[in-house]
């Protein structure tokens, strides 16, 4: 069993976290100012899921990893220029908005449909990976809904470690409260695994992997099916960036003892 996982990773783009974001009112609800122009990255937790998927596949001598990605086609293409160099995968592209203001319920539907449509995908080998929450909507709901849509009831959220045990079962560590992990053992696929940071660093760029990936990515982008995703039934009454700037007192040239004394006094409140 362990050599035959079919791993599908759900992940899309989000604005580069170093960008300044400003909400505007668009025709279909709130949006980001200059959204189409913002540099974007693969959603960080989904990126960790992709790296873990590729690692798991490689370790088990099995190379089929799919990335199902919903976003504006042109921006997905840009994103793939960098992501494709990281690890081998096959892209399933869905052309639609990547807005954080869309509803998880509406996002889950085309993702699940796209997964069902992957040729040759075998349910008894299926592991559906994704991030435990996006950096845009930050809902932490989409993966569970995709799983439900696919009829998968073994689901694990905020996972940092997945180990394929000798008997083929999966041991998973899920984050819980107070800096602890819950340890679970699942008989095997199908399962949904929503990753936190996992244990792997971002792989270095590999141009060979990039070239190999891009051969299939470009046709996948051309064949991207439109996905009508929004926030039906939701009304945003207000979206704002609250005032965050504090009047910072920058303390220079103060003796260490005085700084420490100030800090201790402050801590004691």
């Amino acid at each position: 069993m362990s050599s035959g996982f079919h791993i599908v990773v759900c992940g899309s783009l989000v604005p580069d976290p170093l960008q300044t974001l400003e909400p505007i009112q668009g025709p279909a609800g709130p949006a980001l100012k200059n959204e189409m122009m913002l540099p974007s990255v693969l959603d960080p937790w989904a990126a960790h899921a992709l790296f873990e998927a590729a690692h798991l596949a490689k370790r088990n001598g099995y190379r089929r990893v799919w990335l199902v990605s919903l976003g504006p086609k042109a921006r997905l293409q840009q994103l793939m220029m960098s992501v494709a160099q990281k690890v081998p995968f096959e892209l399933v592209a869905l052309d639609g908005p990547a807005s954080g203001f869309s509803d998880a319920y509406e996002v889950a539907e085309p993702l699940a449909t796209a997964i069902e449509g992957i040729p040759g995908l075998e349910r008894e080998r299926l592991l559906v990976f994704g991030g435990c929450a996006s950096a845009s909507r930050d809902s932490g709901s989409t993966m569970q809904m995709v799983g439900e849509r696919l009829g998968i009831v073994d689901q694990f959220v905020a996972v940092d470690k997945l180990t394929v045990q000798a008997d083929g079962t999966l041991q998973l560590l899920e984050r819980t409260e107070g800096g602890r992990y819950q340890v679970s053992v699942c008989d095997g696929p199908p399962a949904v695994v929503a990753w936190a940071t996992g244990e792997l660093p971002e792989p270095l760029n590999n141009p060979q992997v990039g070239m190999q990936n891009m051969r299939a990515i470009m046709p996948a982008l051309q064949q991207a099916k439109p996905a009508a995703v929004g926030a039906q039934g939701m009304s945003f009454l207000r979206v704002e960036v609250p005032r965050q700037r504090r009047d910072t007192r920058v303390v220079k040239d103060l003796a260490v003892a005085e700084i420490a004394s100030e800090i201790v006094e402050w801590i004691k409140g």
Partner: protein, 342 residues
């Protein structure tokens, strides 16, 4: 008029946790402010009767319970089935639940099953006439939105710290047992483990968040890294102050950059874009540059101070109340000395 269902689970000791009692306050607020609304409490756990008794005086019209050994542990398949059964029994229009890891894992799937919609990380509930509005953050605490929904049932997971924990008279509560048809279980919960073998450094209820940035493990003015000294200073401070430890970067990012890592630091310490957004009244950042991906995790830290050698670091750009331009090794050694003297 809304039919409100407050859903939660018991903790290992059979009691209700603080997050649950806070969310219960939110549910009660809605029940009082939305004319003609009713409140039902739905509990899941090994034995929910003692927990029901502790909130018997909350004013709920009814108590429902799913109990049994299989529901004593936190597991998607059994939790989702239990919550679903409670929702189907009551057929509520509004479901309120606390942001525990157990609820957050299972409830979105339940919303999907019953054709509802869910909002997580809710940080405010507001009633205007007959309209219910919620507040939640988008783009990792960068934008605050107020929104409403037409769909029902509307599930809401309430973030910790949004309401005061409910407290009131205990009593006797009649809990109606709800049966659940569980599928064959393919997942076993085999235990729990601390994220590290060392000190427990994450304390959600601490008054202070102490962030140890990556700078602690970098070369200092003498050209050498002083990891052991850094570890001793930080652990000594955590012991004396009772603070909760946060990190600015993920462990995987640090190790990926070939950087040494503090031995007691875990994945779960990370605060920010790919980490947590803790709620402590005060936060002290040390050897941390205050970059935006980290600082988004400070959204709910009210008073913020930082110690950094760079007077132009991110904290100086309006992100902290006070920035001490100083060597954190020296400052924290002196802080520990002063705390020791108490």
């Amino acid at each position: 008029m809304e039919q409100i269902l407050f859903l939660t689970h018991t903790e290992k000791d059979g009691a209700l946790g603080k997050l649950a009692l806070e969310a219960l306050s939110g549910a009660l607020k809605l029940t009082q402010e939305l004319d003609g609304s009713t409140l039902t409490v739905g509990l899941v756990g090994g034995n929910v009767q003692p927990a029901a008794a502790t909130i018997a005086g909350c004013g709920a019209g009814a108590f429902l319970g799913v109990t049994g050994e299989k529901f004593a542990v936190s597991r998607y398949v059994s939790d989702a089935a239990a919550f679903e059964a409670l929702v189907r029994r009551r057929e509520p229009s509004i479901v309120i639940a606390p942001a525990t890891s157990r609820v957050s894992r299972a409830l979105p799937g339940v919303a999907q099953r019953v054709g509802g919609r869910i909002d997580t990380h809710v940080t405010g509930l507001q009633v205007e006439g007959a309209d219910l509005r919620i507040e939640r953050w988008y783009y990792r605490q960068r934008m605050l939105a107020m929104l409403t929904r037409e769909q029902r049932p509307w599930f809401m997971i309430i973030d910790g710290g949004t309401f005061e924990a409910w407290s009131g008279a205990s009593g006797s509560a009649v809990v109606e047992s709800v049966a659940v048809d569980l599928p064959a279980l393919r997942t076993r919960v085999v235990g729990e483990q601390a994220a590290t073998g060392g000190a427990a450094t994450i304390r959600p209820d601490a008054g202070l968040l102490f962030v140890a940035g990556a700078g602690w493990t970098k070369k200092q003015s003498d050209g050498q890294a002083h990891i052991q000294e850094a570890e001793a200073l930080i652990l000594d401070f955590l012991r004396k102050s009772g603070a909760s430890l946060g990190s600015s970067k993920s462990l995987v990012d640090q190790s990926g950059e070939g950087q040494e890592v503090l031995s007691f630091m875990t994945h779960l310490n990370q605060v920010g874009q790919t980490g947590s957004t803790p709620r402590h009244p005060r936060g002290l950042a040390t050897c941390c540059h205050g970059e935006e991906p980290h600082v988004v995790g400070w959204r709910f830290i009210k008073e913020r101070r930082a110690v950094n050698l760079d007077p132009n670091c991110g904290w100086a750009q309006g992100k902290a109340d006070v920035l001490y331009v100083a060597d954190a090794f020296q400052v924290m050694a002196k802080v520990n000395e002063l705390l020791r003297g108490d």
